[in-house]
């Protein structure tokens, strides 16, 4: 089945639609390590989408937490679901995990209906809840070992605990773990069963920078080993650092979806700034630049060029400078960040 163009493409013409997975820039999931067979690719089946959500609506009373949401997660990629509080991130993820039943719309996870085929789906996915999930009296290693026992081919518990910096607190009861340790234990519990697909709900909320980095690295290793990752986050830098694809949620809908580059490229203009001697002939510079580019001397010797700033434009500007004997000091390219994109789309700060 060919995915239809994403609604965001029409709702927000400035943003590219969701690329066709078969032509998109997606990297293939990792083949298994030496000797291990690559992921099965069954003929005639759509193996590209690990998660496919179409027209999802979920209401709590009169309020729609999710209101006509479409989402695609390609196999073997990291997808970040980004949005402010109340955007519908957790509801969407929990519907995919089988916790909630869609009011309307269809949800397919690994080709299965998470509500109807829960028994077949659950052994294949890993779930990290936003909080809790552990007996208060259970020790960290005890709980992780227990989750491992529920699976057929679990990871080595000690190695995993060590990897996530949980080795030293293995004997500590859950209720005495710090917030960061609890987060990492929940993450370990999500991956210990060697799932195909993991859902991480705000995996780095409340982590110190070092623990955050450890979590990021684990996500990268999961991806490198062919695990599909869906994570929700408040953090732009997290999405930019980890995600192949980003879905920006606002008011229960996807406001935009695409790779971080795609999202940052479209829409508003980017700018290039430099300083040189005052009074340069900007008319001559503009002739060399493509249509739709603007140039201004904001302060004496302080120049700003705005337009679609790419490598070509940068080269043109520097070679024009060279021809005119100008040394463009302090040349900077200001590209839009996901933060800018998010603000434009939603009018909201991510973390309010």
């Amino acid at each position: 089945m060919r995915p239809r163009p994403h609604r965001a493409a029409t709702a927000h013409p400035g943003f590219p639609g969701w690329p066709d997975p078969r032509r998109g820039p997606g990297r293939d999931p990792a083949p298994g390590p030496g000797g291990r067979a690559p992921l099965p690719r069954l003929p005639g089946m759509n193996n590209e989408s690990a998660v496919r959500v179409r027209g999802l609506v979920k209401r709590y009373g009169a309020k729609a937490a999710v209101d006509g949401l479409d989402l695609d997660v390609r196999s073997g990629t990291v997808t970040a679901v980004l949005g402010p509080n109340g955007a519908g991130k957790t509801t969407t993820v929990e519907t995919c995990e089988g916790y909630r039943r869609a009011d309307t719309g269809t949800v397919r996870v690994l080709g299965l209906d998470p509500a109807a085929d829960a028994a077949r789906l659950r052994p294949r996915i890993g779930v990290m809840l936003q909080s809790g999930g552990v007996y208060p009296g259970a020790r960290a290693d005890e709980m992780l070992r227990h989750m491992a026992k529920l699976h057929a081919h679990p990871l080595d518990v000690d190695t995993l605990a060590e990897r996530l910096g949980l080795g030293s607190c293995g004997r500590t009861p859950y209720r005495r773990l710090s917030g960061g340790q609890r987060q990492r234990l929940a993450l370990a519990m999500a991956v210990v069963g060697r799932p195909e697909l993991v859902f991480l709900d705000e995996p780095t909320a409340g982590l110190d920078p070092q623990a955050r980095r450890a979590t990021w690295n684990l996500v990268r290793e999961l991806r490198a080993d062919g695990v599909t990752v869906v994570l929700t986050t408040h953090f732009m830098d997290e999405a930019e650092a980890l995600a192949d694809d980003v879905a920006i949620l606002d008011g229960g809908r996807v406001a935009a979806q695409g790779s971080p580059e795609q999202l940052c490229r479209g829409g508003a203009e980017n700018t290039l700034r430099f300083t040189g001697r005052p009074g340069l002939d900007l008319g001559s510079l503009l002739k060399a630049l493509p249509d739709g580019t603007a140039a201004a001397e904001l302060t004496p010797g302080g120049y700003r060029i705005s337009g679609t700033v790419g490598p070509q434009l940068l080269a043109t500007v520097t070679s024009w400078c060279a021809q005119h004997g100008v040394m463009p000091d302090g040349i900077t390219v200001e590209r839009r960040t996901l933060e800018d994109v998010f603000l434009e789309l939603t009018g909201k700060e991510l973390r309010s």
Partner: protein
């Protein structure tokens, strides 16, 4: 080992990571019997590790047994006090684990998202419930062994058929589990905690555990005799003290609590 240290969003070429593809998917649930066994073992450890639970399930029944057997506080009727008290305290032990302990533990597991998290694991819900039941039964076996030893030390001379005793204990466990799970699955954890303790106390006093039902007014007796704790303690007493074969009336009362209780728990239990 070449640990990934890049900060860009491209985590290197696809392929085995530094850990040699340690995370390469190989999903699957363990065999269901192994899952249930592991879950039951964990639940039992949680029950036995919890100080408040032990107070309820071990300390209070043991103290009551020793205290009321050795000090003549309540007139337990003709015969030795321990012969009256031991069956009642066994019934109390069943109630403390199957009802109070299970309700409180399950209520807080629900509150802390444990049930929710396990719901996303390969362990099916019926498997979780089976494991909980197993954990309750294991705990009860330990309680009964301890209380029996104490009672024997106090000179208890039990009679009757052990099969009848086992049947009554199982029926009592079913009745109390249904009520406990119904409470845990519908009320807030704090409300469950308060209500379960209150009910424990009321049934301890009014359920023929240490105070014979005959001490209550006639009208009250009729109602109190229908309580699951009264049915269990009287039934156990009929067998263990009086040597009755199988007290059908008490078994019927216990079944009358167990069936609707378990059905309502299955129907109304909210996992989150």
């Amino acid at each position: 080992m070449t640990a990934e240290v890049t900060t860009d969003r491209t985590p290197g070429p696809p392929g085995p990571s530094g850990c040699g593809g340690a995370y390469a998917p190989r999903p699957g649930g363990a065999p269901v019997v192994r899952m249930i066994t592991a879950q039951a073992a964990l639940e039992t450890r949680m029950l036995l590790r919890n100080g408040e639970q032990l107070l309820l399930t071990v300390v209070i029944p043991s103290l009551l047994l020793v205290l009321f057997s050795t000090v003549d506080i309540v007139d337990t009727g003709a015969g030795r006090a321990v012969d009256f008290l031991a069956p009642g305290v066994l019934a109390l032990a069943v109630m403390s684990t199957a009802f109070t302990g299970q309700a409180i533990a399950t209520g807080f597991e629900r509150r802390y998202g444990v049930l929710k998290r396990l719901g996303a694991s390969p362990l099916p819900r019926w498997g979780l419930m089976a494991a909980k039941t197993l954990a309750v039964l294991v705990t009860e076996v330990l309680q009964i062994a301890l209380l029996t030893l104490i009672a024997l030390g106090l000179g208890w001379s039990p009679r009757g058929n052990p099969v009848s005793v086992a049947l009554l204990l199982v029926a009592g466990t079913a009745a109390f589990s249904g009520l406990g799970l119904l409470m845990a699955g519908t009320l807030r954890a704090e409300a469950t905690l308060a209500a379960a303790n209150l009910v424990f106390l009321l049934l301890l006093v009014g359920g023929g555990v240490i105070v014979p039902l005959e001490r209550f007014p006639d009208a009250a007796q009729t109602v109190l005799a229908l309580l699951p704790i009264s049915a269990l303690s009287d039934g156990l007493r009929d067998v263990l003290r009086d040597g009755a074969a199988l007290p059908w009336g008490e078994l019927g009362i216990l079944a009358g609590w167990a069936v609707p209780g378990l059905a309502a728990a299955a129907r109304f239990f909210r996992w989150e």
